[in-house]
Symmetry: C2
Subunit: 348 residues, 2 copies
């Protein structure tokens, strides 16, 4: 299937058209025979362009390592918007890798809006507020138990002016890693890349976003995190929109650098049946987190999102063994100690 150039609404938030409508071209055609294409000015259009670019960049990097290609499904949402889902299943290195972009608009209940804004706005029972949401999300599950699973998500949310209140906006996102064994050098690399990204934008961010990531990915009933963390930020709108967009773009542009070298290093590591079994147990934990706690997954499932795109995050295979025991002196126990005490793991 061929993906459309843009998932935005023509004439409403299409970046190129908006740009040409709202401002004169920066150069006259006489002075510059090849004028640059008009730049999208709306954050809607710029965010879509950014995540579409990230989807291409990440898929190309994964395809290069794997030797297989992603299939692509473009879909539309009856309520407004659509998406482009790319999945590679049963590749050489990854058993399942997916990168999904979606751009959705519609109206949300005024009550949900009031809660999100945190202001006591008067509204009628059936009032609905126009919104726009664009995001990219991805999970990659490799075959080899020595190669980590990786997840990322970058999104932008906006409401329109409503009842005299100016439109609201928020950014959210993050990248996190889920190995089955601890390789400290790899974790220093992954967290190091994201600490450097954060430090370029706000020196307080890495510590905060690393801690929030540990909190978010907690499988409460197990008392352990899903993996070994990364960064997460939610509902970020405490500074200039351009600054946050620049940070989100920088973070998304470092997914490949943070993750791919670790997979390249371990993709041919030998492993035992016991290590494969442990990977499958951890895949079970991954599934537990996503289906019981992950707000994005649950929200998507309960509000009629596209199921195949939402559950693309689940592993190809997972296992649940009753009362699974690990060698108390072995590397599996060391991993459990780490995920049960995530805040004590300071990788960088």
């Amino acid at each position: 299937e061929t993906a459309p150039d843009s998932l935005l609404r023509p004439g409403i938030d299409d970046p190129n058209r908006q740009a040409s409508q709202q401002q004169p071209p920066p150069y006259s055609s006489l002075a510059c025979p090849n004028p640059p294409a008009p730049r999208p000015r709306s954050m809607r259009g710029r965010f879509e362009k950014m995540i579409r670019g990230i989807q291409k960049q990440v898929c190309a990097a994964i395809e290069e390592v794997d030797g297989n290609t992603f299939r692509q499904d473009a879909w539309t949402r009856p309520g407004g918007g659509g998406g482009i889902t790319r999945v590679m299943q049963e590749g050489n290195v990854w058993e399942k890798a997916g990168v999904a972009v979606s751009v959705v608009y519609g109206t949300m209940p005024a009550e949900a809006y009031r809660v999100a804004v945190g202001k006591d706005i008067p509204f009628a029972k059936d009032d609905r507020v126009p919104f726009f949401a664009a995001g990219i999300s991805s999970v990659m599950h490799p075959w080899n138990p020595h190669c980590p699973t990786m997840h990322f998500n970058y999104r932008y949310f906006e409401t329109e002016d409503w009842k005299g209140i100016p439109g609201q906006w928020w950014f959210g996102g993050g990248t996190d890693i889920t190995p089955n064994y601890i390789v400290e050098e790899d974790m220093r690399h992954f967290h190091g890349v994201y600490k450097a990204v954060c430090d370029r934008h706000d020196p307080t961010w890495y510590d905060k976003m690393k801690g929030d990531c540990d909190d978010y990915f907690m499988i409460a009933h197990r008392g352990e995190t899903r993996g070994l963390g990364g960064i997460i930020y939610e509902d970020l709108n405490d500074r200039d929109k351009e600054e946050i967009f620049a940070f989100a773009t920088d973070a998304a542009n470092h997914i490949v650098e943070a993750y791919v070298p670790i997979v390249k290093k371990h993709k041919t590591d030998p492993y035992s049946p016991r290590q494969k079994e442990w990977q499958q147990i951890r895949r079970g934990r991954y599934t537990e987190f996503n289906l019981v706690y992950d707000r994005g997954t649950i929200f998507g499932l309960k509000t009629g999102g596209r199921i195949e795109s939402i559950l693309m995050s689940l592993p190809l295979t997972a296992s649940w063994r009753y009362d699974y025991q690990v060698d108390p002196q072995g590397p599996e126990q060391k991993f459990l100690d780490a995920v049960r005490n995530p805040k004590e793991q300071q990788w960088v």
Copy 2:
């Protein structure tokens, strides 16, 4: 580990002690040199005895077919009560079979009690109401894709007299079956056994409980049920306690008859890799239902229940394939048509 004779509180709800305290022995030791053991009179004690007996009966029937034995874990709950969990993993016929009994007592928030009772009872913010709960639950997952998974659950819940309101009580339970393919004869057998059980107690029950079962096991985001149904009843207290207890006992005593012949019939059926793959996809759906919708599972996970007993219900292995397609003319599609239209399947 050795299981205690009773999980009840000695001197409070221990059935034998209550009986001897509350009534004279039915025979003098002179007239009858071997008097029958005193019968437990409290529903607490009688319900525990019933489910302990069912646990033994079901495990023995499964062991006979499988050739392997269940391991047993007895555990206690810090807040009060405990349980006996029996699991057989990687047997000859079943990949995972578990039967868990639990008896739990403690106090619940008065607000939850008020909602359950449905009366406007005045209470103070921190009021708590003493409760007692006993139940048996079980899931059996066979290896062979032509053998169905089966689940059952039978439970009794009681509150004590509180603020002048007499103690309340409810029964709940049911048995349901989850094949991967439709074998009409098998479904007529399984549903037929439960229709006969229901009809002995109330001729309206089978239709109602079959319909409620279809509603309960709906995987809403897929628009399909987990399996091919059975019976379910929740919060049942609309008639004499003895009548409901007799029904619950009858239903629990027909688990083996309803299920085991179907497994015996199919346990050596040949199957293809494609049929095994389809079974794994259905196991993924089973996992989705249990982790996203099953009230018992979610309540247990979020209130600090024993994780290994709660998640014993998950399959040994499950699979999620992106955009899995079945042959529109094949038996997998016929199965999907059935689980997407559960009310149209009238087996008996």
